[in-house]
Symmetry: C2
Subunit: 373 residues, 2 copies
C-alpha cells in the first residue's frame, strides 16, 4: 500500500518512486507548501500542472484554523482543499517553537497559545498523531523538537534524545494504518556522533521513511552540506529520505547529490509574492525598473504560463500595481521552475549523467540574468 | 468590420451579436472590468471560461501606470494582458473626476495630478482618443464629463452640453479606423428633455454605438429605471446601447428589460475580494460564522470551480485566513454567475420568454440563502 522503489543511483544521488494509494511520488520530489489548506495564490490543479506529486500541509496552522476535528468532519484535508493526491503533514513541532506564544516544553509535550487568537493548546506526540490522522495525511511526521542553530552541543544532544523518545511515542500512537506512512526525523545538529545516535534510535524503532531534521535553521549551506555528506548514508537505503524545509535551487541540487529523496520549502511561493522569480540564470527581482519596458519573458525556455504569455514589463507592472495576478503568475513560475529542476535531476540520475546535469545547472546560473535590452 | 446584428426582441429587451475583428460579442453582454490590465485575481483564460466575450479597461489607470505609450511599444493592451478578444476602454473622464487630485476642468479638457505619484497630466477629447488608440482598444468611448447625482438641473444641462461638444471633438479626433468602434455617451441626468437633447446631438454626429452615461452615480435604482424607461428608445435602434457602470444582478436584469445591450461593473470582482458571493438566491457573505461547518457549495446548481470543488466551510476558512485563493474563487464564482444571468437572458429573449425568465429570477432571489444545516 505504501512502498518505495529505488530505481537508479548515480553517485549518492537516487531516483525512484514512492507508491501510495493516492498516487505515485517521483523522487527526488519537491513538495510545495500548502500551509493553511492552500498553496498560496495557486489553484490546486495549477499546482499539479507544475508537476507536483505531493503537497505539504502544516499541522500547527490547520489545528488552530479551521481545526483538525472540523476538517475531519468535512471529509479530510484532501477533500477540503480539493487535492486528491498525496499530502505529507509536518508534526507541528517545528512551527509551535517558531510561531506560537507562551510555549512551555516538558517531557510530555508543548503547551502554547495560538498566534492567531491567543487560545491555549497542547501538542504531544499522541495529539500530533491524532491531528495528522484527522487531517487524513498520507505521510505523517513524528512529533519532534528542533533547536535553532547555532546551539551548544549539550542542548542539541538533550533535544535530540527527547525527540527520539517522542519518536517512540509517535510510532506507538500512530499504530498500524495501511496505506499511510510514518516518517521518523533524525536530529543531532551538525554533530556527526549525535546524527549517528539519532539514526540508530530511529532505525531501531522502524519507520516508513526518514527525515533529516534540524537543518536549514540558520547553519548556512556549507554546514548543511557538511551534515548531508554523512547523514543520508546513516539512514536505511531502502526507505525515502526527506530533508525538511529546503530550500533554494542550489540547496536542493546539493541535497539530491548527497542522497536526499524529498524536500519542501515555502521559498518558491513566498518569493512569488514578493516579486522574486527563480530562473535558470538565477534570481530575477521583477520590481526592478530595468524590466519596465522589456517585452521578453522571464525565461524564454520556460513553458509556464507566466513565461509563455507575459512580458517582464507586464510582470513588473502588475507587481508594482500590487495586483493579485502578480502573485499568481510568479508563484506558478517558481513552482514550475522548481519542478523542472526535479524532473531534470530524475532524468539525469536515471541516465547516469547527474554530474553533467549539475555542471550545466551551475553554468547557467553563473551567466546571470539576460542583458538589458 | 464592426457591426451589430440585432437578432431578436422581446418587449423592449434585445439580443444580438456585435461583430468585431477580434471576435463576436453576444448581447446582452456583461463586461468584466480589467482596470489595470488585469481582472483582479483572475487569469484571462479563466475570465474567458466564465463566458466573457469582452473586457473593459480603464484609460485613467493605464495612462498613469504603466502608461499608454509604453503599452503601445509593448504591442498594445491585448498582448500586454494576454487577452486577444475585444476590449472596450472608457475615456478616463469619469475616473479623473472621481480619483485624481487637483482637477481643473475647462472647455479644453481636464488637468489633474495622479493619485499614484502626484505627477501632472491632461486629458482632452483628443488625448483620450490618442490614448485609447495607443492601447489598441476595440471599442473607444467619447471623452465626457459626468456630474454626481443629485445635481441641480442647470449644472446637469451645462455638463451635458460640454460633453456633447467633446463628443464632436472625440469623433473628429478618432477619425476613420476600420474594425474599431467609437461610442457616444448620452448624458442629461434624470431629466427626460436633457436626455432627448443629448441623444439628438449624438445621433447627429453619428457613432457606432451609444452609451447611457451619468447613471449608477448615486441616484438609486428607481430613478435609474425611470430614466431607462425612456432613454434607450431615444438612441438608434440598429446600434448597441451600453449602460455604463451597472450593476447589481437586479439592476442588470432591469436594464436589459428596458433595452440595454451592454454593461460593465466592478461589483463581481470587487465583491469577490470582500467575501461577498452573488448567487441565484441572493448575496452570501462567506465570512459569516454560519458557513464554518457547512459542507455544501455556495450554489449546488452552479458549475463554476468554487461551487464544483469547494464547500462553504472551505471558502469561509480561506476568506478568514486572508488567503489569495479566496479572492480567486469568489471572483470566479461571481463572474460566472453574472455571465450565467446574461446567457439566461439571451436565450429567454431569443425564445420570447423573457417575462417568465425574469419572474423566476426574482422568485429564486426571494427565497433567500439556503437554510442552516
Amino acid at each position: 500500500m505504501f512502498s518505495f522503489d529505488l530505481q537508479a543511483t548515480d553517485g549518492a544521488a537516487r531516483t525512484g518512486v514512492i507508491r501510495t494509494p493516492r498516487g505515485d511520488i517521483r523522487t527526488p520530489a519537491f513538495m510545495p507548501v500548502g500551509t493553511a489548506a492552500t498553496v498560496k495564490a495557486m489553484m490546486p490543479e495549477s499546482v499539479r500542472a507544475t508537476g507536483a506529486d505531493i503537497l505539504l500541509g502544516n499541522t500547527y496552522h490547520l489545528m488552530l484554523r479551521p481545526g483538525a476535528e472540523r476538517i475531519d468532519r468535512l471529509g479530510g484535508l484532501h477533500r477540503f482543499m480539493n487535492w486528491d493526491r498525496p499530502i505529507l503533514t509536518d508534526s507541528g513541532g517545528f512551527q509551535v517553537m517558531s510561531l506560537a506564544e507562551l510555549r512551555k516544553l516538558t517531557e510530555k509535550g508543548v503547551t502554547f497559545r495560538s498566534h492567531i487568537d491567543g487560545s491555549k493548546h497542547e501538542l504531544t506526540p499522541e495529539r500530533s498523531m491524532e491531528i495528522q490522522k484527522l487531517l487524513g495525511s498520507d505521510i505523517v511526521m513524528c512529533f519532534d523538537e528542533c533547536p535553532a542553530l547555532p546551539a551548544d552541543e549539550a542542548r542539541v544532544a538533550e533535544s535530540m534524545r527527547l525527540s527520539m523518545r517522542w519518536a517512540e511515542r509517535s510510532r506507538e500512537a500512530f499504530g498500524d494504518r495501511p496505506g499511510h506512512a510514518l516518517f521518523g526525523i533524525q536530529q543531532g545538529g551538525v554533530t556527526e556522533e549525535l546524527r549517528a545516535e539519532s539514526a540508530e534510535a530511529l532505525t531501531r524503532i522502524g519507520f516508513d521513511g526518514y527525515a533529516i531534521g534540524g537543518l536549514a535553521v540558520g547553519e548556512g549551506q556549507e554546514a548543511m552540506f557538511g551534515v548531508l555528506d554523512y547523514a543520508p548514508a546513516m539512514l536505511p537505503v531502502d526507505k525515502p529520505r526527506y530533508l525538511m524545509g529546503v530550500g533554494k535551487p542550489d540547496d536542493i541540487v546539493g541535497a539530491v547529490k548527497r542522497g536526499v529523496d524529498m524536500m519542501d520549502c515555502v521559498l518558491p511561493s513566498r518569493s512569488g509574492r514578493t516579486g522574486q522569480a527563480f530562473t535558470r540564470r538565477g534570481v530575477v527581482n521583477i520590481k526592478n525598473a530595468r524590466h519596465q519596458d522589456d517585452p521578453r519573458p522571464l525565461d524564454e525556455h520556460c513553458t509556464c504560463p507566466a513565461c509563455s504569455n507575459y512580458s517582464r514589463a507586464y510582470l513588473h507592472h502588475v507587481f508594482r500595481s500590487q495586483e493579485i495576478i502578480s502573485s499568481m503568475l510568479l508563484t506558478w513560475h517558481n513552482l514550475h521552475y522548481f519542478q523542472e529542476i526535479m524532473g531534470g535531476m530524475r532524468a539525469a540520475i536515471s541516465e547516469g549523467r547527474f554530474a553533467d546535469w549539475e555542471e550545466k545547472f551551475h553554468a547557467d546560473r553563473a551567466q546571470g540574468d539576460i542583458e538589458l535590452l
